[in-house]
């Protein structure tokens, strides 16, 4: 018998491409997915026709414009589309730097799908939902321990929402001290996540952005030039999106405190510091976590995200309502908080993800969390060493220093020598069944690439990703056309970007599409 040949590396990937229409175009008049049986005669005699019992004002006058399809056609349609995606469950997703694309354990999905959770109604009496309240209370306790903060709100729907909640709390704090109008400036850094600046702007603040010093650290001298009696707060990510830890972070918070401002810690990049360093010791007054990053719940496209906002003592009065409380005997939600910034989300928050992250932490324990951080850092530095052996790439800033959990690289040398740009590499990477990310805008690091391996990937996985980058680098020097004309193995070829800037050329819903094209 012939032996099986070893598979080549990188693998000969090809993505499915079904050219599937929009589901509304699959309408087959008369087809049905489910045939509901009619009401039994005996029941109808007893109770009447349920359809007649609908209040008139709830009746549709026109049937909903849903496509008529059989079950198997619906199944096929969505299966085909799902085949055309790449996600954490499919690819080695270390290319999505800052997102912390770790494995979302399926056991946690099973727990979140238990009927004990799914059949709860948020308006049930507290006495009947003690289980989920206990989970929320205990998760808060764990996050308090991890960060050193005094209280948490699990209400925010995601990271940006948590940052915005923090800003609202800081605003309420300054207003309560009569300094609300005076303090109208927020300071952040260019390498912090842009949602910090964006949330501050939405909240009405003037945003001051610090650029890094020559070594890539947030510039302390620039901070000193930026603080004043108008400073409301500092919003900063640490380590920043370059993966560099700011050794002077406590100095940053001290300077802002001296000016009367308070400091909020964007802990989106917490994966490399769990159990190693805390927000409290760095001098922060508030922090936030992304449960869908650090704590393994699926990211937005796999299910909703969830955020957690943590505060020190002086900000507790301003927490969103409700908070989860325990009176020694039972758990309940407290809405009686007069200084609260108010309700920021319907009902309890994203309970399924609160449960998933609770389960994840419980499965690891305190020692396990520390191990997560250590492996994430080890994986990242192993990847750093391997990537730097590739021709044309560098890791700017902090020369000779290691990184924490991610690295922002630069392909500038390769671009100078071959004319191939990072965004072109980004597209070519998809030809190998992988994903890649450059950087937020503006590109302060030229030709950027930001990789974050997390603790979930094995050495073989990292080696596979490096092999792909190595191949693409070699292609840049010998056959750049294959990169510039990529993708070749994907669902679609290159798309035009310009239409996405023109509202006359895109529609986000079928209804909007019908309206804009005048179609029925």
């Amino acid at each position: 018998m012939k032996p099986i040949n070893p598979k080549p590396s990188p693998r000969r990937y090809h993505q499915a491409s079904w050219d599937e229409p929009v589901i509304f175009e699959l309408n087959q008049p008369g087809q049905r997915g489910v045939l509901l049986p009619p009401v039994e005669t005996g029941i109808e005699q007893e109770v009447g026709n349920p359809a007649q019992m609908l209040p008139d004002q709830l009746r549709r006058t026109v049937p909903p414009a849903l496509p008529e399809m059989s079950q198997v056609h619906v199944l096929r349609h969505y299966d085909r589309i799902s085949q055309e995606n790449l996600g954490v469950d499919l690819n080695i997703d270390i290319g999505q730097g800052t997102c912390t694309m770790k494995y979302s354990p399926k056991i946690n999905d099973q727990l979140a799908h238990t009927h004990k959770l799914t059949e709860l109604h948020p308006l049930q009496d507290f006495s009947t939902v003690q289980g989920i309240l206990e989970v929320m209370y205990r998760l808060e306790g764990m996050l308090k321990e991890i960060s050193g903060m005094n209280r948490f709100s699990l209400q925010p729907g995601a990271g940006g929402a948590a940052i915005y909640a923090n800003i609202c709390m800081m605003r309420a704090y300054h207003a309560s001290r009569g300094e609300g109008k005076q303090r109208d400036e927020v300071i952040t850094t260019i390498f912090s996540h842009p949602s910090n600046a964006a949330a501050a702007k939405v909240a009405g603040y003037k945003v001051i952005t610090l650029y890094p010093d020559s070594e890539g650290y947030p510039d302390l001298e620039a901070l000193k030039a930026a603080v004043s009696e108008r400073t409301a707060s500092l919003l900063i990510t640490n380590p920043e999106d370059t993966g560099i830890f700011n050794p002077k972070i406590a100095e940053f918070t001290r300077i802002v405190h001296e000016a009367g401002g308070i400091c909020s810690y964007d802990q989106a990049n917490a994966n490399g510091i769990l159990g190693i360093t805390r927000a409290r010791e760095a001098g922060f007054d508030l922090c936030h976590f992304n449960l869908h990053k650090t704590f393994s719940t699926p990211h937005g496209c796999g299910g909703p995200g969830a955020g957690a906002s943590g505060v020190t003592e002086k900000l507790i009065p301003f927490l969103p309502v409700p908070t989860t409380e325990f009176d020694g005997q039972k758990y309940y939600l407290d809405y009686n908080r007069p200084k609260s910034i108010g309700k920021i989300r319907p009902f309890y928050g994203v309970t399924a993800n609160i449960l998933r992250s609770y389960a994840w932490i419980m499965s690891l324990g305190a020692d396990g969390l520390r191990e997560v951080a250590e492996i994430a850092v080890l994986n990242n530095n192993y990847l750093l060493k391997k990537v730097l052996e590739i021709r044309g790439v560098s890791a700017p800033y902090a020369k000779g220093k290691r990184r924490v959990e991610q690295v922002r690289y630069s392909w500038e040398q390769l671009t100078q020598e071959t004319g191939v740009h990072s965004e072109e590499i980004e597209i070519r990477v998809t030809d190998f069944g992988m994903h890649y990310w450059t950087s937020h805008h503006p590109f302060v690091v030229p030709e950027p690439m930001t990789l974050e391996p997390t603790e979930s990937y094995s050495k073989a996985d990292l080696d596979e990703y490096v092999a792909v980058l190595n191949q693409i680098s070699a292609e840049a020097y010998t056959n750049p056309e294959i990169i510039k004309t990529a993708p070749h193995n994907s669902t679609v070829h290159q798309t035009q970007q310009e239409p996405f800037d023109n509202p006359d050329e895109w529609a986000v819903t079928w209804r909007a599409y019908r309206r804009k094209t005048g179609k029925k």
Partner: protein
């Protein structure tokens, strides 16, 4: 596409002269053994374009003004006859030859003119065809203070290729600066802003929708203008320096703006247009003036290039809090960490300004950025 090479651009630099204009200088340079850089630089750019040669028609000026390099790189160009050019005697090409070639290409309806040269050539291009026609500079001069060049010759070829393919390219106006060379050689720099050229730049793609497409430059400029106007004190007049970003302020106020000069405005009216340093100082005898200034040119100079009217004496009389520095965030990022530079002509004034300045980069958005005064003895143009 059109190609114009200034065959003598850069000839002065390698042998330590500070410019290449003027027949005398050129002869001096050749005596010192100088070889013009522009041909090689143009060749690098054209080699990048060669793979797509079949997709476009190439027009060039004759001989060493483009035809020679085009053929050497494997193109079969259409040579534009430019009356008056003596192609057989390369040493005799002048600025007028560049201008004639550019005008001829404009009339031949090319989509883009690629030119190899320095600030002198940029100025010639501007004088010939103005600021509303796509061009791109291959940096090949001693003086490259203008903002009209690609980062290097290869990049110029790539940008041209992407522009011709209609991919990922936007256009914006970039400053044309040039020195007055007589004064330059005596080590007292006067840089003037002569005008603007319309050049392509790469629009950064975002393949994943993790962040929305960055706002266009004109939208950014409008946001900056809105912020500046909010800050302008009623009754205070401001020196409005030249630049496309400062022009957005004037536009938003409904005021005219001198293309390359400094105007004095309030929120309500234009008080004086295109003022000289003397005129500014005279006004300052009567009233305080604020300053609205933006980095001009491609080297990150905030003061000292293209706004020479803002002399040290003027700067001394402006209150720090009335000095508004404005700049697109994308331009700050393009500095790649290099500081903004001030070279007012007075080192003491430069030192006063050096440090960290707030730069208005959007509506209610500022960037704290480093400003330095370059050491004049050792300053090198990139």
């Amino acid at each position: 596409m059109g190609l114009i090479v200034n065959p003598i651009a850069g000839i002065g630099g390698r042998v330590g002269l500070k410019g290449s204009d003027g027949l005398e200088v050129q002869q001096q340079a050749r005596t010192l053994g100088a070889v013009p850089l522009s041909q090689e630089r143009a060749a690098t750019a054209m080699e990048v374009l060669h793979p797509m040669a079949a997709e476009f028609e190439l027009l060039t000026a004759p001989g060493e003004m483009g035809e020679t390099i085009a053929r050497r790189c494997g193109f079969t160009p259409r040579v534009i006859p430019t009356p008056g050019l003596l192609a057989e005697i390369p040493l005799v090409t002048t600025a007028e030859d560049t201008r004639r070639a550019a005008r001829a290409m404009l009339e031949a309806d090319v989509d883009l003119i690629l030119f190899a040269g320095g600030d002198g050539t940029s100025r010639d291009m501007y004088e010939a065809i103005g600021d509303d026609f796509p061009v791109l500079g291959i940096p090949a001069g001693v003086k490259i203070y203008s903002a009209v060049y690609a980062v290097n010759p290869r990049s110029a070829g790539e940008l041209a290729a992407e522009f011709l393919r209609g991919v990922r390219i936007r256009l914006h106006k970039a400053e044309v600066l040039d020195l007055d060379e007589e004064i330059y050689r005596q080590s007292h720099i006067i840089t003037r802003l002569y005008g603007y050229l319309k050049i392509p730049y790469r629009r950064e793609i975002v393949q994943n929708q993790k962040v929305p497409t960055p706002a266009s430059e004109s939208a950014q400029a409008q946001a900056i203008a809105a912020d500046v106007i909010e800050r302008m004190k009623p009754g205070l007049a401001y020196l409005l320096c030249p630049g496309t970003t400062t022009r957005a302020v004037a536009e938003r106020l409904g005021l005219p703006k001198t293309l390359v000069g400094v105007d004095i405005i309030t929120r309500d009216e234009l008080l004086a247009a295109d003022v000289s340093e003397r005129q500014i100082l005279d006004v300052m005898e009567q009233r305080h003036l604020g300053l609205i200034v933006t980095p001009t040119g491609g080297q990150g100079f905030l003061l000292g290039r293209g706004n020479q009217q803002i002399s040290p004496q003027v700067i001394r009389r402006v209150c720090r809090e009335d000095m508004l520095v404005i700049c697109l965030a994308s331009k700050i990022a393009a500095l790649q960490g290099r500081p903004l530079l001030v070279d007012s002509g007075d080192t003491e004034v430069d030192r006063l300004l050096a440090g960290y300045l707030p730069v208005i980069s959007g509506y209610h958005e500022t960037i704290i950025y480093k400003v330095e005064a370059p050491d004049l003895q050792s300053s090198e143009v990139r």
